[in-house]
Amino acid sequence: MKMIPVSTRINGDEREFLCAPDETLLDVLRDRLGLTGSKEGCGTGDCGACSVMLNGRLVCSCLVLAAEAEGAEVDTIEGMAEGQVLHPMQRVFIEKAALQCGICTPGILVAAKALLEKNPDPSETEIRYWLAGNLCRCTGYDKIIRAVQEAAAEIRRLQP
């Protein structure tokens, strides 16, 4: 199978890779680039564990062909913290125990951050609908929703 060369920018860094035509962005992130923060849950766009930002939009990386990332900006969970300093959303998730097994957590963090960029003060209902494509089988969601609300409030306080 002919490999396709792809130039892209991931978490702000220029990255180049070769991929098969039917390889997904998720497979390339995990298996070729060593970015294993994005998880494969279902592989069919139902669970959101593979959520990343593609050109500023929240997507399931399992439903993106890696070849489509040519010239694109990709942001993954690995780019969320600034060095050793966690993003407020990450820190509040730990403080509020908004995770148990942790498989859904990277996708939920990426999705929740994307929501706050669109809507800095979402209602509980808005958070629940926005995160409807991120499945969590441990927490029952309440702690996740409360963590997103608290992180949102903290980020609003930090920004004038």
């Binding site: 766009g45 139902d46 997507v59 439903l63 062909l65 070849a67 999705a111 994307a114 409807a132 494509g133």
Partner: protein
């Protein structure tokens, strides 16, 4: 499998026309990649078109809107003028999948996937939307209602693909709405659905009505008898009962684990009534 990003519509059409194996067009990929993953389809050629001119743009044209075939649901919802003119179409598209899916899924993809339960299609059929199809002989305009011919099947010929969907200009006092039934609140496929588009006169009498139903036949259907039940009325109870009866008479659904035949028929009538009331209010709100 080959992945190709052609330089022009002509090159894309030629590629698709020459392919001897199974070819699929990639726009948002939210159906195609799922089908590949589950081995429903094993394409030998994937043609990515979304970088071509106009594919990702919403452009005002003759008072209406030309929506590129790869415009996402999220883009539709962010377009204020489109939301004001065609709230039913935008809401219907917005019901498809999650936030993640909304970043990629398109009206054209929803149409060409050919599902009778496709959420945006009844709303587009009610809106009398027109698909622009590109092929070896250039482009042709086809009413959206004529594109699907059965579950998973369209009347597009080899080498043809959608480049845009046109939503026409809105007269004064017009409104549209779309409702579906699902057994949960999000992330599900319509058990049945109804899209209504209507125009009223100055007195609030319905002058033009289109009623389209989803998931109650092999394709989305336009029900003229149901529209007739509302024309000339001010949506009084008698007219709404006539609408529901005409809708029920037009349904010929399958029964499956998501809904029995009887449930789908009854619910389609109820949804049509409720959607008609919302569309009517919207038409009034524009006075």
């Amino acid at each position: 499998m080959k992945y190709v990003r052609p330089e022009s519509y002509e090159a894309a059409s030629a590629l698709l026309g020459e392919e001897t194996g199974i070819a699929r067009i990639l726009s948002g990929g939210t159906d195609v990649l799922v089908q590949m993953r589950s081995e429903v389809v094993e394409p030998s050629l994937i043609v990515d078109l979304k970088h071509l001119d106009g594919m990702r743009e919403i452009v005002a044209e003759d008072g209406g809107f030309r929506i590129g075939a790869a415009v996402s649901g999220a883009q539709l919802a962010e377009h204020e003028a489109l939301c004001a003119a065609w709230p039913g179409v935008v809401e219907a598209a917005g019901l498809i999948g999650s936030s993640q899916i909304q970043s990629r899924a398109s009206l054209a993809g929803n149409l060409c996937n050919g599902s009778p339960a496709a959420d945006s299609v009844p709303a587009m059929v009610a809106a009398d939307a027109v698909a622009r199809v590109f092929g070896a002989e250039g482009f042709r305009d086809v009413p959206v209602a004529e594109i699907p011919v059965g579950p998973g099947k369209t009347n597009l010929k080899k080498g043809e693909f959608l480049i845009s969907i046109y939503l026409p200009v809105r007269p004064e006092r017009a409104g549209d709405a779309y409702l579906r039934f699902i057994p949960r609140t999000e992330m599900d496929i319509a058990v049945c659905s109804a899209g209504i588009n209507l125009v009223t006169g100055e007195e609030g009498t319905c002058t033009e009505v289109r009623v389209a139903l989803g998931a109650v036949a092999p394709t989305v259907i336009l029900v003229e008898e149901a529209a007739s039940a509302l024309i000339g009325s001010k949506l009084d109870d008698g007219a709404l009962k006539g609408l529901a009866a005409a809708v029920e008479a037009a349904c010929r659904p399958i029964g499956d684990k998501r809904g029995t035949v009887e449930f789908r028929i009854k619910t389609a009538g109820v949804l049509a009534r409720r959607a008609a009331e919302i569309a009517y209010q919207r038409a009034g709100a524009k006075q």
